[in-house]
Symmetry: C2
Subunit: 310 residues, 2 copies
Amino acid sequence: MRVLAVDLGGTHATCAAVEGGRILASETVSLPESLPLAEALEGIAAPLGKLHACSSAEGIGFGFCGLVDPNRARITSTNGKYTDAVDVDLTQWAREEFGLPLRLENDARLALLGEWYAGAARGETDVVMFTLGTGIGGVAMMDGRLLRGKHQQAGVLGGHTPVTLTGRRCTCGGVGCAESEAAGWSLPLVAEAWPGFSTSALASGKIDFENVFACAAQGDEIARQILDHCLKVWGAAAVAAIHAFDPDLLVYGGGVMKSAAVILPYLQEYVRQNAWTPWGTVRIAAAQLGNDAALIGATPLFEQELPVVR
Amino acid sequence: MRVLAVDLGGTHATCAAVEGGRILASETVSLPESLPLAEALEGIAAPLGKLHACSSAEGIGFGFCGLVDPNRARITSTNGKYTDAVDVDLTQWAREEFGLPLRLENDARLALLGEWYAGAARGETDVVMFTLGTGIGGVAMMDGRLLRGKHQQAGVLGGHTPVTLTGRRCTCGGVGCAESEAAGWSLPLVAEAWPGFSTSALASGKIDFENVFACAAQGDEIARQILDHCLKVWGAAAVAAIHAFDPDLLVYGGGVMKSAAVILPYLQEYVRQNAWTPWGTVRIAAAQLGNDAALIGATPLFEQELPVVR
């Protein structure tokens, strides 16, 4: 079946027409920060309408960067972004603008669904996918289905696993989450508070993962320590997910995976040493679909049994 | 239905005849440490046979203190105890000794099943139970069924959630697990390594939770710090479980719950502040069945759909 897909992040939205694991056409729109969701929807109506006109799609699969209730197709919590979102009726919007049914999922869940349908997790039934980027996504599939839970928020908060007792306060309200210890937004806070930071090359450059990996590779001791901290955080989150969901495979995506050559072998060894899995060893693999994963996930989202809200 | 129940721990086994949430008769046997499982089974054959003779039971529900595969009724990992256990065929033992079918579960899972059937989690569908004792059990039920997973070890390792990056090595192979930071066996190690330990009243007494709670209540600063550490560990494990399994309720059992009056209000407030649950607040409750929970869980273990291995 052919569907329209929307992947709405904090600073941009990508619209696409997708079918059978392929993107037929797509368009990305930049969005100003702090935009209300209602206005973001106005911004994507035109490109989505154009894709609709050319594709005869049967529905819209919508990925959102926050907690959602897929059964009601409502956003339940936004962690600071799109503060009007819980009041927006996306189903009504899709029907009135395009005459189409809509299904809503968390963007990280949708990316896992895409990797499962046509990427690194093809043929798997029990997978956790971590997305290492500005934030950290951590999403679980068990027995071939996304884990959703009583309030639709099971297995979707892997980035908010607490990994250290003495960590910083996270945007989610928690303390020492993986995301507040080793994600794009928290990295500058972690680095600037690191003992000896002013002696590091990081102090005179941009504090992002690209630079931390580069400085560490050049022998910068502070960058090496910070990188080691981040790797341990990702390793602890991996073990927590393995102990919770019992998967065969962990898939890693997100912008930080430009350094996959360092990250993946580290995590494979960390998991081998630290996870209690007498049946064998959980495999670690890179995501294959990049930014397309959530878009491609729109097709299996429609094919799964979840009731469509019309 | 009437069943025989066995709850096999590291140092003792309790055998019982149970029916409908009640214990009809029971007997506890002490077991020497480092006993092979084969010999432990010999030790419980007599009391179990006596219960069988008086009860006309339809099967044996067996709770074991390690990882198990309930589908095959085999023990898969023992974390140092009963090292012969993975080679023991409990199904054969039950058939030859008593002519009865047997079902096997992890003891912490069985305790949650008991609390769900006749205790603190009655009427609930989404519950996590933590057992704070010599070790820490942490077990999940979702949608009214025990979470088991691909290799039968999902939702059963809550005590082995990594909660600190700088923690000690756990018996499970991990680092900084909840259990290696705040359980009966690890408490002396944590306390003796605490800065200023020698100035504490703990240094001249027994290092157990009873004494830590008592000394902290009397104003001993080091005991207060250690207690605060343990409470934070339990709080972090609670948040990790909530973010993973999305429950309505956390149930706490185990010997450490003698200090429930301190622990439960702390955890309720910790969860209120740190868990990301826009739908409401996860409730915290004390277990109601004490050491009987796993025994009483033998009845619903037989009533659930799991295939019986004969």
